[in-house]
Amino acid sequence: MRYSWSFVIKRFGLMLLIIWSGATLNFFIPKLTPRNPLREKLLQEASRGGYIPPGFEEMVQAYEAKFGLDRSVWQQYLSYVQDMLRGDLGFSISNYPKTVWELILEGLPWTIGLLITTTLAAFLIGSLLGALMAWPKASKLFRYVLPTLLIFGAVPAYVIALTLIYFIAFRLHLLPIGGGHSIGVLPSWNMTFILDILQHALLPALALVLAGSGGWAIGMRGMMVTIQGEDYMTFAEAKGLKNWRLFYRYGVRNALLPQVTGLALALSFIVSGSVLVELVMGYPGIGTLLARSINQLDYFMIYGIVFVIITGIAITMFIMDMIYPLLDPRISYESK
């Protein structure tokens, strides 16, 4: 047993605290502002008829009573927390019969699929490049890779995505311009559809990997430089081991451990990391849903998405903290 109960309970408590804070901020920040989404929506619907009907105020009040907005703030807060505990996020305003949760479930697989792949790809590519940059026997060309990657890493991923759309999709017609799959293709589990999805995912993935791999390369390069001074490297070299064996088994393997900590942290942002890239690409994930809800002033949808993402981060961070001692035997959470 590598965990002590007090640590697990503490981490679990932190997770609950994060989720609770997210939900509470979601409830109170809108309450602090003078806006009234219900009245705005009714006013918008009413003025479509060209005039505001008599009895509009009564209507607003009736709806407020129905939504429970006439109760005191604390009673509202209690019932809000109860709803959240049951996973009831309410209905979407602009896609009415659908619930917020249904719409989020539609987008979630797209986002998670894209982000897990790109986070891992950026990690592998960045770490490998970083290791090669610090390796004296590698080609000198790698010296120029880092500055380029770092410049890409400094610029937001969605700006890179916009540039890629113009050159790769619009000018060269190499990849589709946007969306998650071709319009008119029915989702099914056959080869053509899967290829279609991959083709559409390539451009957003490229933007995310370009923006993400620079950071990994810096960390890896630093670790590799330190490791080359270690005695076991000199000894292994003196034994006459082959070059690739020195590089992978002795260098990369030891330098990778601190990187894995970072990977665990990065993986906890798989739900939130690509909001703007998705928006730019019209990718049918959570980010596009969020941007559309903002444009349509669909408040329940906005708060629902924010809550789900915060919960996702809190839970993945908890899981990662629990997995980490299994990966690195030197770390243990046992109480001393």
């Binding site: 605290l17 901020l25 920040i29 890493g153 937001p156 969605y158 916009l162 703007l276 961070m317």
Partner: protein
């Protein structure tokens, strides 16, 4: 003169800082000269010029093809679909974006540094609450918090100043954590003990004794805070929650996405904000690395 020579020699060693400062000088000159050329109250706003004109030096309206000889107008960056002169947008928008970043960064650093100093110095319950608050707030993606704040304020009310204040509401998290850990390591140093023994009050130890020693960190922290603030303000604006009436860089990118500028072939409309954004971020990144080298001599590469 001697000092100038010395700093130039230092810059030759610290290439990151040199590149960053070079871009900074370029952007400052661009803004100053640009403000002499454009009319900041007309040019960056809709209907300032003809719609969707590619970059040109001698523009003539179709009604008056003869004007080429008399007085053609120049739109060296082109105009967008609503007739904003993109040179005006580039000049005024860059300055507005930097203003938002500086405002949020300075407020955030000030508040964050205060929290970091006091919580590390006094410890106890107060420290625990600050630490948990910072930990929890750092887990929540800043962009999402800002989305909740900005969308409940309504996009009619957001101005450039409002945007700066909204971003400042989350900008204190990073500085609070960094400064706290620095102060923790400094709290037990002999000179702080001496000050305590001399009967100095907590606040005057913090501000008179510890603050001067942390100035390099505060400088590097300011660059990081401004970078984060500009990043956040651009993301928020690109989602449509920025000051939509003002031509900031983020709002310009929002229009580029929203009006699908690239798919209509108006490449200059997207290219102008993208190039400036890239310049701004590369500049901040290089300055940050450069300052890191100044602040922690241990980071200096052994070459």
């Amino acid at each position: 003169m001697e000092r100038l020579k010395l700093s130039l020699r230092y810059l030759r060693r610290n290439t990151s800082l040199a590149i960053g400062l070079g871009i900074l000088v370029f952007l400052v000159l661009f803004t100053i000269i640009g403000y002499m050329v454009i009319d900041p109250l007309i040019d960056p706003y809709p209907l300032a010029g003809p719609a969707s004109t590619a970059p040109t030096l001698n523009y003539c309206p179709r009604t008056d093809p003869e004007c080429e000889k008399t007085e053609p107008k120049a739109y060296i960056f082109g105009t967008d679909a609503q007739g904003r002169d993109l040179l005006g947008v580039a000049v005024a928008g860059t300055w507005m974006t930097v203003q938002i970043g500086l405002m949020a960064g300075i407020i955030g650093l000030g508040f964050g540094a205060f929290l970091g100093f006091t919580s590390a110095f006094y410890g106890g319950w107060y420290d625990m609450i600050v630490r948990w608050a910072v930990d929890v707030m750092l887990t929540v993606p800043g962009l999402l918090l800002l989305v909740v704040i900005a969308s409940s304020l309504g996009n009619q009310t957001i101005t450039v100043t409002g945007m700066g204040l909204i971003i400042a509401s989350i900008a204190w998290r990073g500085p609070a954590r960094v400064i706290r850990s620095q102060v923790l390591s400094m709290r037990e140093r002999p000179y702080v003990m001496m000050a305590r023994l001399n009967g100095m009050g907590g606040m005057s130890i913090i501000f008179r004794e510890m603050m001067p020693n942390l100035l390099p960190y505060l400088g590097a922290g300011l660059v990081d805070a401004v970078t984060a603030a500009i990043f956040a303000s651009m993301g928020l604006a690109a989602l449509g929650l920025g000051p939509l009436r003002e031509p900031t860089l983020g709002v310009t990118i929002y229009w580029v996405i929203n009006q699908s500028a690239f798919l209509r072939g108006l490449w200059w409309w997207g290219a102008v904000p993208i190039v400036i954004v890239a310049l701004v971020f590369v500049m901040l990144f290089q300055i940050s690395i450069g300052l890191d080298e100044v602040a922690n001599p241990r980071v200096r590469r052994s070459q």
